[in-house]
């Protein structure tokens, strides 16, 4: 089984408090915030590794693909250390400022090139459904549309048997089971699995695994199809909404507080 995983490097979500929005450009200011593999991308990679192990690790391959500045190369090395066999980084100034439309278009172009170079098509492309920074949930679906492949997102359980993809999606009240045919693109959620740790042995093995860096030209795309130029989305004003709420201390004793709460509820007509 041949699987490709879309990896998104993001600013560490645990440092959320330090992330600012630049009012002039409307973009996230990532300076000084360490980059990590987006948590759901990590789940996607774990799902890919488990499927590859199930169908015979030696006969399977798991590739990782990211579009990011070259400094994010170590995130792909991390993906290799987790168990991916090969990694590709799309890195070029021309890719900068891309919205999800341009990003997915560029990723799809790279997928076509990898498949052409390797002489096979991926049975599955896995990605996180929604990244911790942008959170649009667009990229996996849009990439599938560019590639004209079956897609499903928000998947919390995934299996593949004889070319049939079975995916379970959690909605608010029920679990929905979908079946589709390979090749497919699947967006997973964090509850699909617990990603394995990167081990010291994994890091050593990653030394010898191929990591290819491609420019826009190398994947056969150009300025007006990618990056800011190829992005129809024009962000409006971005701001942090005021979330403070006024607190009020009520009742000197528990009994008095209970009576006062009751009064408030009745007054509100609940």
């Amino acid at each position: 089984m041949n699987i490709l995983v879309l990896i998104k490097p993001v600013p560490d979500p645990e440092r959320e408090k330090d992330i600012r929005i630049d009012e002039a450009s409307g973009r996230l200011v990532r300076d000084g915030i360490p980059m990590v593999i987006d948590p759901e991308s990590r789940n996607a990679l774990e799902a890919a590794l488990q499927l590859a192990e199930k169908s015979g690790r030696e006969q399977s391959c798991v590739f990782a693909l990211a579009m990011a500045p070259e400094q994010a190369k170590d995130k792909l090395v991390e993906a290799l250390a987790m168990g991916a066999d090969e990694a590709y980084l799309l890195s070029d100034k021309a890719f900068g400022g891309a919205d999800t439309y341009a990003t997915s278009r560029t990723l799809a172009q790279a997928v076509r090139k990898i498949e052409e170079d390797k002489g096979f098509a991926f049975d599955l492309i896995l990605a996180g459904t929604s990244s911790s920074d942008g959170g649009t949930s667009h990229v996996a679906v849009q990439t599938a549309e560019w590639l004209k492949r079956t897609h499903i997102s928000n998947v919390c359980s995934l299996d593949v048997n004889g070319g049939t993809v079975t995916a379970i999606k959690r909605s608010e009240e029920v679990m929905l089971t979908f079946e589709g045919e390979e090749p497919a693109v699947v967006g997973v959620t964090r509850d699909i699995n617990k990603p394995r740790f990167v081990t010291a042995v994994g890091i050593i093995k990653a030394r010898k695994k191929p990591l290819t860096i491609w420019s826009a030209e190398e994947i056969g795309t150009c300025g007006d199809l990618t990056g800011l130029e190829g992005s129809p989305t024009k962000p409006g004003r971005l701001f942090e909404p005021e979330q403070g709420r006024a607190g009020e201390a009520i009742g000197d004793t528990p009994e008095a507080a209970a009576a006062e709460i009751l009064q408030i509820i009745r007054k509100a007509g609940l």
Partner: protein, 381 residues
């Protein structure tokens, strides 16, 4: 000159830190409170590569060096210095086998020690004292190809869980009446070899410390680690390099815990209408902890890099001495910053102090370290 870690070392640290955060941090307080040794985590430490990080790949290890070994210990000790004590002693015994053992011994024991199925130990200290290695009384008598060992060791880490323990034994006297020592590996379950009393420690819980009793223990001559009669230099080298490096790494983990907790508390706690971190008196304490941490870090990793380059002297003693005293100072400062919260067991500050105090005598007291540093200094300058 470059004090930066390599990209690979940074990645290794992140990997170990992630593991420690998920697998150690949530349980550390409970292990301390219940004086529990989490043996179930040992295979996971093996899988992560922590148990055999510096062992060559052909024996099942990762094939990295002592800088990486210290990174692993620092990350484990960041959340549980007690568990780190188990790992450090394991490395200590293992290093003796790796550095001095026969090929047969390495093939037999190292793979299990790397994958976490066998914990290793090193037993030197006796009721009569720890630092006076020449005064040890545990005796091994050779009859044909068999050692018969009698004696008692105390304050031995991994006493109750080691699958193999490298024991320093007196095996004779030279013409001037000075003891001849040998290091002999004893496997758990060997007749007459058993753990004795398990110590009820003040800190460093999460690892066993106790007695080992040897009552007519018979082991083959082939269990001798290194040449018979070379036990003293073998023991001193491993304690001096692997042991003291490990202790400094564990103390560094405690120091980082103090630093991170001090900063988090000072930013969150509101006093006089503003965060504690705005008060200059608190800032001074934080600056002291930071300086202690950074100085210890530089001393330790400099010494570890020197060891990997094969030219370390008294640097590990300097790092161990400085970091152990610094960890005690910093844990006390953290308690002062936290006030009442620092003194209650709901927060780990008290544990850091108990653990830091426990580190001071391990692998040589501060006085012993100063003697070693002074000895080298008087020769060198």
């Amino acid at each position: 000159m470059d004090f930066n870690f390599t990209e690979e070392q940074v990645m290794l640290r992140e990997a170990f830190a992630q593991f420690a955060k998920e697998e150690i941090a949530p349980h550390a307080a409970e292990w301390d409170e219940k004086d529990y040794v989490p043996m179930e985590i040992v295979p996971k430490l093996g899988e992560m590569g922590i148990m055999g990080v510096f062992v060559p790949e052909k024996y099942g290890g990762v094939g990295l060096g002592h800088v990486e070994r210290c990174i692993a210990l620092e990350e484990v000790a960041r959340y549980s210095a007690g568990l780190a004590m188990m790992v450090f002693t394991h490395h200590l015994g293992l290093a003796a086998i790796l550095d001095y053992g026969t090929e047969e011994q390495k093939q037999k024991w190292l793979p299990g020690m790397c994958d976490g199925s066998c914990v290793c130990g090193l037993a030197v200290t006796e009721p009569g004292g720890g630092s006076d290695v020449a005064g040890l009384k545990t005796e091994a008598v050779l009859d044909g190809d068999t050692w018969t060992i009698n004696g008692r060791k105390c304050f031995i880490t991994n006493s109750h869980c080691a699958g193999v323990t490298v024991v320093t034994c007196r095996t004779g006297e030279d013409e001037k009446g000075r003891p001849i020592m040998s290091t002999i590996a004893i496997e758990a379950g060997t007749e007459g070899f058993k753990p004795g009393r398990e110590e009820n420690k003040m800190g460093l819980k999460g690892s066993f410390t106790g007695e080992l009793i040897m009552d007519n223990v018979k082991v083959p001559l082939s269990n001798t680690v290194g040449e018979p009669g070379k036990g003293m230099p073998i023991t001193m080298k491993e304690l001096g390099e692997v042991g003291r490096a490990s202790m400094a790494a564990i103390e560094l983990g405690i120091l980082r815990a103090c630093l991170e907790d001090a900063v988090a508390f000072a930013k969150e706690r509101i006093l006089y209408g503003k965060p504690l971190s705005k008060l200059q008196a608190i800032q001074f304490n934080i600056a002291e902890i930071r300086c202690d941490y950074e100085a210890s870090r530089l001393m330790l990793y400099n010494a570890a890099a020197m060891k990997d380059a094969g030219k370390v002297g008294a640097e590990f003693s300097m790092a161990k001495y400085f970091a152990s005293e610094a960890a005690v100072r910093s844990a006390r400062r953290l308690i002062e910053i936290m006030g009442g919260y620092g003194y209650v067991n709901e927060y780990p500050a008290g544990r850091y102090l108990r653990d830091a105090i426990g580190c001071v005598p391990s692998c040589g007291t501060s006085e012993i370290q100063k003697m070693i540093v002074a000895g080298e200094t008087l020769k060198k300058f």
